[in-house]
């Protein structure tokens, strides 16, 4: 039943996506590729900025900046995050069971100082990423990089790694000018975490081939970019200057209403409410890629109640999912499974678990537990997409209270609650998972014995069928087959797992009406280069 209807839906979605991309591309092209860049674009962002060094940054703001300073081998276009497209590489070939990837580079690409870009720069950038041992280094864990010629790069992974094409599109894998960076203290050798001194240089000057150049950089106030006059690629800058300002969300609401050429990126759906229907501002509210989920610890040493499978089912069928999505605000969507709706292998909404109080009561009765009382931990001082965990936790408490499950809320500062979550000691936990890269492989962590599985007390060997399926999905390179495998995994996870995916909160992008090409993307948020003015 499910497997028959799913491909048709996927096909429909794919057609819609292609159409959307085509329209977006046409719109981008029509705003004249050869016109000189003029004017100033202002982006209001609540900063989480640490560095402009692409191989060191792994933050949201840093990702937005890196995306226009440094080109990557492949890129995602528009709002799509399922198909990496050519950028510096004209294409790639996977071989050896998804363990070897060969990328062919575009010729005549030049860095902003005029130096030609070759495989040497790619190898330098990737090795530097690995050896800096920074936050994004895990992206290339188990991968070796070599040049197969001046315009050929070969990535070899120890294990089958079908996520690699999506990974090379990440801003942290932006290609730097190896000669320039080396001349300013950079190195890609082992021990670069101690010997590389190029960060302060890269915080002053960009060394990439992207559509914009770094003019000034301050991690707490503003970042200024100017158009790269030597840029020859597809994403030519349309503004002479871009200013990214550190502005708190409530202030963003005011300035985007007044300004022109202005974009606000941090409004919550509720904060943005006055803007819907505004004459000066276009507001998009789209489901973001973060998955909020509840889990019940499967380790009986942590709780004999939450590890009871019937009790888990009672929670599963008692949660008021529709109410939770409403509470999350406009643009939010149901998380049908753990893989976000935008990604390959996402479940259709129809396959999501629905509230069924009768069944929940029956499961609770069958659990043999009387008046169960459990503790729900969540980070009390943390909000994401303008949404506080405390509010959602209170809703869950009320939902479960209706069938006689007493939930005690135990909100703790994020430092404490995160430590408990990671140690796997929470009875019930409310958390979110944000993607490291837009590929379903990033969600195998929810399986038994994996990172998040263990946090929910789900040890390896707890569900061998699901684990075997996970191993197969993780090493399959055919996208169609992968998508099917991941959907199978999630259907089973939804039936038997200790996780209850709740929703994907809405992400709001508010932009002055005169701006064109403002498209939210789940990986890099927004591509400043495609934005133009009417």
């Amino acid at each position: 039943m499910l497997s028959r209807s799913t491909p048709r839906r996927v096909l429909l979605v794919a057609v819609a996506l292609v159409a959307a991309i085509a329209v977006a591309a046409a719109a981008a092209n029509s705003t004249s590729n050869d016109q000189a860049a003029t004017g100033t674009l202002v982006i209001d962002k609540s900063f989480d900025l640490k560095t402009a060094d692409p191989q060191r940054q792994f933050e949201v703001t840093g990702g937005i900046v890196a995306h226009v300073l440094y080109d990557t081998l492949l890129e995602f276009r528009g709002s799509d995050v399922t198909t990496p497209r050519p950028s510096l590489a004209t294409g790639y070939r996977a071989s050896n069971g998804a363990k070897t990837y060969t990328f062919t580079l575009r010729r005549n690409v030049r860095f902003s100082d005029g130096t030609p870009l070759t495989s040497r720069d790619v190898v330098f950038s990737f090795r530097r990423l690995i050896n800096l041992k920074g936050n994004p280094s895990f992206l290339l864990a188990g991968v070796t990089v070599s040049a197969g010629g001046p315009y050929t790069v070969i990535l070899r992974s120890r294990t089958p790694n079908p996520a690699l094409p999506a990974i090379v599109a990440n801003g942290s894998l932006g290609i730097v000018n190896s000669k320039l960076v080396e001349a300013n203290g950079g190195t890609d050798a082992a021990g670069a975490d101690k010997t590389d001194k190029a960060e302060s240089f890269l915080n002053r000057t960009s060394a990439g081939s992207g559509p914009y150049l770094l003019k000034s950089f301050n991690t707490t106030s503003r970042v200024e970019l100017t158009a790269n006059p030597r840029y020859t690629g597809r994403r030519k800058a349309k503004f002479a200057t871009v200013v990214i300002r550190n502005v708190l969300a409530p202030a963003q609401l005011l300035s985007v209403q007044r300004g022109t050429n202005e974009i606000s990126l941090d409004l919550s759906p509720d904060q943005a409410r006055p803007l819907f229907g505004s004459r000066n501002v276009n507001v998009q509210a789209i489901s973001g890629p973060n998955i909020w989920f509840l889990f019940a610890n499967s380790n009986s040493k942590i709780s004999s109640i939450t590890s009871n499978k019937r009790f888990q089912n009672a929670i599963r069928y008692q949660l008021d999912y529709a109410g939770l999505v409403r509470l999350a605000g406009r643009g939010s969507g149901r998380a049908a499974g753990v893989v976000p709706s935008q990604f390959l292998g996402a479940l259709a909404d129809a396959a999501a678990i629905k509230q069924n109080t009768t069944r929940a009561k029956a499961e609770l009765a069958a659990s043999g537990l009387t008046n169960p009382e459990v503790e729900l931990e969540f980070p009390s001082d943390f909000t994401s997409s303008g949404l506080s965990f405390g509010v959602i936790a209170q809703k869950i408490q009320a939902d479960l209270g209706k069938i006689g499950i007493k939930v005690n809320l135990a909100g703790k500062p994020i430092a404490t609650s995160l430590a408990n979550y990671r140690a796997g000691t929470e009875q019930l936990g409310l958390w979110l998972w944000g993607p490291d890269y837009p590929d379903p492989n990033d969600y195998l962590v929810f399986l038994p014995g994996q990172l998040v599985g263990l946090r929910a007390g789900w040890a390896a060997g707890s569900d061998r069928r699901l684990e075997a399926l996970g191993r197969r999905a993780g090493s399959t390179s055919n996208p169609r087959v992968r998508g099917q495998l991941f959907r199978q995994i999630q259907v089973q996870l939804n039936q038997r797992g200790p996780f209850f995916p709740l929703f994907q909160p809405g992400q709001v992008v508010a932009a002055s009406k005169n701006l064109t090409g403002v498209v939210y993307n789940a990986t890099f948020q927004i591509d400043l280069a495609t934005i133009g003015s009417r």
């Binding site: 409530p250 001082d381 509010v391 209170q394 009320a398 135990a410 500062p413 404490t416």
Partner: protein, 295 residues
């Protein structure tokens, strides 16, 4: 130096008309009635509140009016009921906390003042140590160490607020301890404890009561501040400070945060007015009105 015996008589005569006058001041009337009203609300909240403060039965984010006089919050709870029930958290806790601080501070202050010397130095230097930090910062540190909960918030605030009582009581004990009648009691063979309890403390009670009443407002404010910062009351408790914090997240729906904020405002105002009036009655020397009216 005044003649012992003469002063109390004169004061006695002057005080009686002042008591009546002080309570006729509009501020005193407002303070007393507001405080009394809030205490009644705290006692009778279950009878007054239209619904359960935790029940999420209404439509979320309804503006004030109709069935929901103060509107509903993001979870569909009645804001009016939450504000009324909030009085059951803030007011008793503030009383408890001020009581504890008074007990600890007054005892330490009395001991320090009466015995002097080494004991005095230890107590008063620790008081200075606490005074050296801004109260809210120190309270935040304490709750951060103990873990955020309303109980720990109260404990933290006791730690922060005992020194002011200790200081006042010590000063009074020092000055009263040197009066002739105390010396006389001691010469007649009374123990130090008896002199302290029977002769000194009753004379200290007035000013300390004034301080405590004024401190009640302050205590409610600090408790709310800690809850606002997420260090005090935890959800789903309908605490006022937490309510204001919730309102900040839903700024367009002004009623979620405004009503708990007004509740804090009115209670703090009431206890401040009450404290001021009490001072006029019990502690005429330190009252500004005493000077202007008498001379």
């Amino acid at each position: 130096m005044s003649v012992p015996g003469a002063t109390p008589v004169r004061r006695f005569r002057l005080r009686r008309p002042r008591v009546a006058a002080a309570w006729r001041q509009p501020l005193a009337v407002i303070g007393l009635s507001l405080a009394a009203a809030w205490i009644l609300v705290a006692i009778f909240a279950p009878l007054l509140a239209p619904s359960d403060p935790l029940e999420q039965n209404a439509a979320p984010l309804l503006p004030p009016g109709g069935d929901y006089l103060f509107g509903t919050d993001e979870l569909g709870r009645d804001v009016l009921s939450r504000v009324l029930y909030g009085a059951r958290i803030s007011i008793p806790l503030a009383l408890l906390l001020v009581g504890l601080a008074l007990l600890v501070g007054a005892t330490l202050g009395a001991v320090a003042g009466y015995f002097g010397g080494f004991v005095d130095s230890i107590v008063m230097r620790s008081a200075d140590l606490v005074f050296a930090f801004p109260a809210i910062i120190l309270a935040m540190v304490v709750t951060a160490v103990l873990g955020p909960s309303i109980r720990n918030a109260v404990l933290a605030l006791v730690i922060v607020s005992w020194p002011s009582y200790a200081r006042v009581v010590r000063g009074l004990v020092l000055s009263i301890g040197q009066t002739e009648y105390v010396t006389a009691t001691r010469l007649l063979g009374a123990s130090a404890r008896r002199a302290l309890v029977r002769d000194v403390l009753p004379n200290v009670a007035g000013p300390v009561l004034v301080l405590a009443t004024l401190d009640l407002g302050n205590a409610i404010l600090l408790l709310s501040a800690l809850s606002f910062l997420g260090l005090g009351a935890q959800p789903p408790q309908p605490e006022w400070g937490a309510g204001v914090a919730e309102g900040i997240q839903y700024f367009q729906f002004w009623w979620i945060g405004t009503f708990p904020g007004l509740a804090i405002f009115s209670v703090v105002l009431a206890f401040n007015f009450l404290g001021d009036s009490l001072r006029d009655v019990l502690d005429p020397q330190s009252s500004w009105r005493a000077g202007s009216e008498e001379e």
